[in-house]
């Protein structure tokens, strides 16, 4: 079932140098229980897209879309109050910086208790207390924390990065959301920690029938269970579609470069060989190229690229490029 349906989502913000499009006609479709990875380098608008879904966008910014539907309901037509209700009931997000998410002044137990919906615990005062405690324990077990006794009494600063990340997942899933958005920290997580978190998310997607949107910087390290994949660059949608198709045959030059740059995919490269990469650096908001924003760094760019490419729909895929690497007619 189609849970989330986003068509041509555009976010514009007012800066000292005029209006800037920070998200430019982005599409995203998500069905129940599936894992969707959003990949892009810094400043590509990944966190912004997540916030737009949650409705956390600065009210002074202009948000427009042909469609922003959740479960068949139009989110843009709702009052802020209705929208908050839906977000609070159905969605949850884990932010890029777990320290900004966890409250430094309360224990893990207090924070998880707070996240458990009131209606879930019933009965006498004592009953409720015991019930809450077992629920907290169960949630901690569910995110792979076995040592619940000591973790429950800990404050966030006493936790390692991986445990803190798991605790924020436990808080996020306490109200059994249908959608979990996980914004991966950009500073290095230890590979083993990342692997654990990924396995946990994949397990939760199946056991809780929860959809997961996973945001990361490197295509090489996305979750293997990813069903669909979206690549963003500087706020523009480069390519989106079934992960398997995109990974085995990228249509967009950006997807292709991201795959070549990732050391995970470069297995047969000779030791110490130079790595393929894109030249130049990521433009700042003030200096966004016109047309296709990848233009100045794209090895396939030609004159026409100063005009924004239209969307090409190719089976289940959508991409924006004047000179795709795939022949869509074949």
């Amino acid at each position: 079932m189609q849970l989330l349906d986003i068509r041509n989502l555009t976010v514009e913000m007012q800066t000292a140098h005029g209006i800037v499009r920070v998200l430019d006609k982005v599409n995203l479709q998500l069905t129940e229980g599936e894992i969707h990875s959003i990949v892009g380098e810094s400043g590509s608008g990944k966190s912004l897209l997540a916030k737009a879904i949650m409705g956390f966008i600065n009210p002074n910014w202009q948000v427009t879309a042909d469609r922003l539907w959740w479960n068949g309901q139009d989110l843009l037509a709702m009052t802020p109050k209705q929208r908050r209700k839906i977000t609070g009931r159905d969605m949850a997000m884990i932010f890029q910086d777990p320290n900004a998410y966890l409250d430094p002044n309360s224990t893990v137990e207090q924070q998880i208790v707070e996240a458990i919906p009131q209606g879930d615990v019933r009965g006498t005062f004592m009953r409720r207390r015991v019930d809450r405690k077992t629920r907290v324990k169960r949630l901690l077990h569910r995110v792979g924390i076995r040592d619940h006794e000591s973790i429950m009494e800990s404050y966030p600063f006493e936790l390692s990065q991986g445990i803190a990340q798991k605790v924020s997942i436990a808080i996020a899933i306490a109200h059994r959301p249908r959608l979990l958005i996980a914004d991966e920290p950009t500073t290095a997580m230890e590979p083993s920690t990342r692997l654990q978190i990924h396995r946990l998310l994949a397990r939760l997607a199946v056991s809780q029938k929860m959809s997961v949107v996973l945001i990361s910087q490197d295509v090489g390290s996305i979750l293997p269970e990813t069903k669909r994949l979206t690549l963003l660059y500087c706020g523009q949608l480069m390519e989106t579609g079934p992960a398997h198709d995109i990974l085995s045959e990228p249509a967009h030059p950006y997807t292709d470069s991201m795959l070549r740059m990732s050391l995970q995919t470069q297995q047969e490269l000779p030791h110490k060989a130079r790595l393929p990469t894109l030249p130049g650096s990521i433009p700042t908001l003030r200096h966004m190229p016109i047309g296709c924003r990848l233009g100045p760094r794209c090895p396939y760019a030609q004159k026409t690229c100063v005009k924004a490419p239209r969307a090409t729909h190719d089976r289940q895929r959508v991409y924006h490029c004047h000179f795709p690497l795939l022949d869509s007619s074949s």
């Binding site: 085995s248 297995q267 990469t277 090895p299």
Partner: protein, 270 residues
């Protein structure tokens, strides 16, 4: 022949803060020994808190050991021959944003180590700064720039420029690649490899990434709770399937690969 760098029984303990003289000290690194030759890349790996930064900082001269010694070209390093150390071993930190001085333009920041450590004239200093900027793929014009005018990748380049301007023999980089975007990270790795070829620099690289290690390291040193549990050539450590910890740290992640068919059009530049 002496080694470029020889570390003998190097150890570091911390006295716990409220400790009495007789309370046991906490051990950050247990005495360890290893060697590094000219032009080699040594990767230091281990989970958080295993002592990687402590080791890097001692070699980089930012911290002091509590036991053991370090020999550079067969000569023992003391705190009183610090200038020698400073010229020959330089450090790059993870946090390029904050390790640059926001109030000084790039040219001045690069000139600083030359002022303190060499007898070069103003004209010679300027020439060296320009040459170094070029070496890291930046322009003469960047001399006038301030850090906030640069992208994170460019800032990382400036940090590398500052590390190599004294033409050191060893550069110690503590997680210097983690905060970078994939395209910039690949550019910086290429730059480091080029500098190694052109100037014969050796690197000591602290990193989490098994892929980077596999690709560029000649030798791997693995720390586990302050203890060195492996030190050998990269392919030997990679083939070591005996130690479960090494397995966990390296093999599991190197296996997890996305199959990508890369023999299609290869137009992407390097």
């Amino acid at each position: 022949m002496s080694h470029l760098l020889e570390v003998r029984n190097l150890g570091k303990t911390y006295r716990s803060r409220k400790g009495w003289p007789w309370t046991p000290k906490s051990v950050a690194i247990e005495p360890l020994s290893f060697t590094l030759e000219a032009g080699e890349i040594l990767a230091v790996m281990g989970e958080t808190g295993s002592g990687k930064s402590t080791l890097a900082q001692i070699i980089g001269g930012v911290d002091t050991a509590t036991s053991g010694e370090i020999l550079l070209n067969g000569q023992k390093l003391h705190s009183n021959n610090y200038p020698q150390l400073c010229n020959n071993i330089r450090m790059i930190f993870q946090d390029s944003e904050n390790s640059l001085n926001a109030h000084l333009n790039i040219g001045k920041q690069l000139e600083e180590p030359l002022l303190f450590n060499t007898q070069l004239t103003a004209a010679e200093r300027q020439e060296r700064v320009n040459l170094t900027l070029q070496r890291v793929g930046m322009l003469r014009e960047h001399w006038e720039f301030y850090p906030h005018m640069l992208s994170s990748g460019q800032k990382q380049r400036v940090c590398i420029a500052r590390a190599i301007i004294l033409e050191p023999q060893i550069v110690v980089a503590d997680e210097a690649l983690v905060a970078l975007d994939p395209s910039i990270r690949a550019q910086i790795i290429n730059l480091m490899l080029d500098l190694q070829k052109d100037m014969g620099i050796s690197y000591i690289l602290v990193t989490h990434s098994p892929q980077i290690v596999k690709h560029i390291a000649d030798k791997i040193l693995i720390l586990y709770r302050g203890k060195m549990i492996a030190f050998d050539k990269t392919d030997i450590v990679l083939e070591d399937t005996q130690q479960t910890y090494v397995q966990q740290l390296l093999h599991e992640h190197l296996k997890q690969n996305i199959q990508y068919n890369s023999d299609r059009s290869a137009k992407i530049a390097d």
